[in-house]
Amino acid sequence: MIRFLLTFIVLVTVLFAAELTAPVQQYFVLPWTEMLTKAAASLLQWADPTVISRGKVLATAQGTFAISVEAGCNGIEALIILIAAMLAFPSPWRHKIWGMLFGAFAVQALNLVRVISLFYIGQWSMPVFHWMHLYAWQALIMLDVLFVWILWIRAMPKKPQSLESAIADGDAKESAAAPNHAG
């Protein structure tokens, strides 16, 4: 537990510090955020074709309302936490890679729901928008990370039984099944 926690904390700190560097911001964070905004706009256009996205800004065509997807809203910090938790937990590499891919999808899918919901909530009520944006959605995204991690560990393949322990198990079963003649 302590080893896992320490590795996890170190990984979170390193990945988070890396995220804040200028090259990572320029070549990964910004393009990712813009892609997320574009995806949100594409989904919103099914219901309202006038919604537009420009860079990381999502807006109504009339210019009555706009939101900018910033750090903390692009799901990258949540992904960093999930990736660090998966890397720190002892498991096969194949399982880690599948977990990170599935986890990235799960986190970003919920993040899209967050962006879209905030876009509508903001047009309805700004106090509710602030409350949902700053507090409630942050908590929900973290719980999403937690549940993905729990499901990932539960889906972990069981260790193959060693020959010695298999024989020992077999012996134990046999002696339990056999009638006791010892009187």
């Binding site: 988070f16 960093i80 507090y135 973290m142 729990i150």
Partner: protein, 208 residues
């Protein structure tokens, strides 16, 4: 005289009473869905009390590191207010105090998440209270770095210039602030809840 050892069956029964009852993931999620909105409502209405509790560790750190610049910590309508000794020359020779504000809710929204996780896991009330206490330093980190950010990257004229916050300290403040606002409020409650409800977590993870 040695006491007779209790029968084995009785000891097993006592141990099973000490351990939490098994809880399926489905039950845990259902409980969490019920508890989380209630915990958030309680947190919303307890904003003043939470800000007041948080003002103590923040004031302790302030008194250790910024006693001369930041005069004190005040609580007003759920906000933490920091009167700062302003540069007298910026205000026509008059010594004034600038009031910097920090919204503690930005750093304490993990408290209802922690409470909901603990209640959903069936943890004892004393562990819930102890966990909320352990969350305070992480929340104080966020508040203090928010204050430092306002001082190191001022948007208000008159903030003292000679705080020694140029160069590397500014970079450190930026990193500490980002960590305090983006990572700690999300992470600390989950880590502390997992530590306090270890047995439950092991069971949910199927590690037992």
């Amino acid at each position: 005289m040695r006491k007779k050892a209790p029968p084995r069956q009785t000891m097993q029964a006592e141990n099973s009473q000490a351990l939490p009852q098994p809880l399926s993931l489905k039950q845990f999620v259902l409980r969490l869905i019920i508890c989380l909105p209630l915990a958030f409502i309680a947190w919303h209405f307890l904003a003043d009390a939470i800000a007041w509790a948080l003002s103590y560790p923040v004031d302790f750190v302030r008194s250790q590191f910024m006693n001369r610049t930041v005069v004190r910590v005040e609580v007003n309508a759920g906000m933490l207010i920091f009167p700062v000794r302003a540069d007298a020359y910026s205000f026509g020779g008059k010594a004034v105090e600038l009031l910097l504000e920090v919204d503690p809710r930005l750093y304490t929204y993990g408290a209802p998440v922690f409470a909901a996780l603990m209640i959903a896991a069936g943890a004892k009330i004393r562990f819930l209270l102890l966990g909320l206490f352990f969350l305070l330093p992480f929340q104080a980190w966020g508040v203090f770095f928010d204050l430092l950010k306002q001082l190191a990257f001022p948007t208000v004229e008159g903030i003292p210039k000679n705080l020694g916050l140029e160069g590397l300290p500014r970079e450190f403040i930026a990193l500490g602030y980002q960590f305090g606002v983006l990572i700690l409020p999300m992470l600390a409650p989950v880590v502390i809840a997992a530590t306090f409800a270890r047995e439950r977590v092991r069971h949910l993870l199927r590690l037992d």
